[in-house]
Symmetry: C2
Subunit: 256 residues, 2 copies
């Protein structure tokens, strides 16, 4: 069921053209210049499609591709030798995948699709060329890296300082907010299939305790989280409960 890690096999060159890139209509993304779009079109290898559960690349591998999420949601997680796993973060449309492989080191994590997803594929070898010729692109890459770092910080704060209820609420807020920002939840409800086992692996809790905590939050009417969707009846109340400062990024996400 797992897809090949190696290049080429599933690349569908000449799928949708860049002219119909699904990211461009996102008004919250900064629009690339026509010239930048020509460059990107020339560099991209094609698109790949993954179904829920399929692995994009494994921990320890050195993929020859870099990816941008065109649609869908993915997650990256780190596996321990004894079988435990820690989910690091989720990835949404516009996110860049493979920062580490861009600089030629082993991936410290694996990436797998959470919903069906399409990725835009670039050749790793041409990364330097791309960055050298398009300084706007390296600036955007820095932007994405800085914001990813900020997201990981927030996760660290959750794991280090928040109790189980606060962690659950913070995760729900984070996911729904990102979904709203990327137009995946126009009505404030995110359709995504996440098992309680996955939540537990994200938040560093046991499955049993995750279940009980989730029930408690449901009883408090703070989150409406089922196997297939996440809803937050009162976003302000949920943020307050989780202890999240209302910091929204002013600048629109860049387009890569």
């Amino acid at each position: 069921m797992a897809r090949e890690d190696e290049a080429g096999l599933l690349v569908q060159v000449g799928g949708k053209r860049c002219a119909q890139c699904p990211l461009v209509p996102y008004e919250r993304l900064s629009q690339p210049s026509p010239e930048l779009r020509r460059w990107i079109a020339a560099f991209r290898q094609g698109e790949m499609r993954y179904d829920r559960g399929e692995v994009v690349f494994t921990q320890g591998s050195r993929p020859r591709q870099l990816y941008t999420v065109l649609s869908g949601i993915l997650m990256r997680s780190r596996l321990l030798e004894d079988g435990r796993r820690q989910i690091i973060n989720f990835m949404f449309p516009g996110d860049f995948i493979g920062l580490q492989s861009a600089v030629d080191s082993e991936m410290s994590h694996e990436v797998e699709a959470v919903t069906s997803a399409t990725l835009c594929v670039f050749a790793r070898e041409r990364f330097f060329e791309l960055v050298a010729s398009q300084p706007q692109l390296s600036f955007d890459l820095t932007w994405l890296a800085a914001h990813e770092e900020s997201a990981l910080e927030e996760h660290i704060v959750s794991l280090g300082q928040r109790n189980a209820r606060e962690r659950l609420a913070a995760l729900a807020v984070f996911l729904v907010q990102r979904a709203i920002d990327t137009r995946l939840a126009p009505d404030g409800v995110l359709a995504i299939t996440i098992t309680q086992g996955q939540i537990a692996d994200m938040l560093g809790l046991s499955l049993v305790h995750t279940n009980r905590t989730l029930q408690a939050l449901r009883r408090l009417q703070l989150v409406d989280w089922t196997l297939t969707s996440i809803g937050i009846p009162d976003m302000a109340a949920a943020r307050q409960f989780a202890g999240i400062d209302g910091v929204a990024s002013a600048r629109p996400r860049p387009y890569i």
Copy 2:
């Protein structure tokens, strides 16, 4: 006692010349080309020196400078409204400070000196210019961002999956290893003053439990951690105990 956040006040332009940059002799850093060094010399504003406990910039600020660590160790931490704080990571010579301010957003954390430290100061406004003219530099920046991300991942794994003893051991290994890599602990002992309260804030543990866990590790002869230094009698045993896979980065750290 806290230093001004504003530009200029404490900048010592014309301190040590770049020709004597303390980072260059590190054989584990990739050496910059003569041309790159000329560029860097032209862009840098000067050096700043901080003593233990002094704050480089605060959470929520928008510093007009970017920094590279020339010597010393710093930490960045995120403060919650109720006074709790979570230490995110430590920074060592060669690290870049201010990725977020490079792309013009608010800093999500504060940075403070843990030992006395000197930083190399650059103007934020000229960041784009620098990246555009020196593609090698944006590549190096990407390298640093990717490795910082990896370090944060490891921290997330600690907080999510490891118990108190394992966390303590993992942190000791991480700090000593980074110190060895940056030549701050030639004999394998790192001279750094870290209180148990700071350890607790890094690992998401209470001060009391941190203290008891530290004693347990001392009894097990796994770490030799006092207020002013960290030693690891048997590195392999400590790594094993903490559950750290022995992954060393092949490529030398870049020089920025």
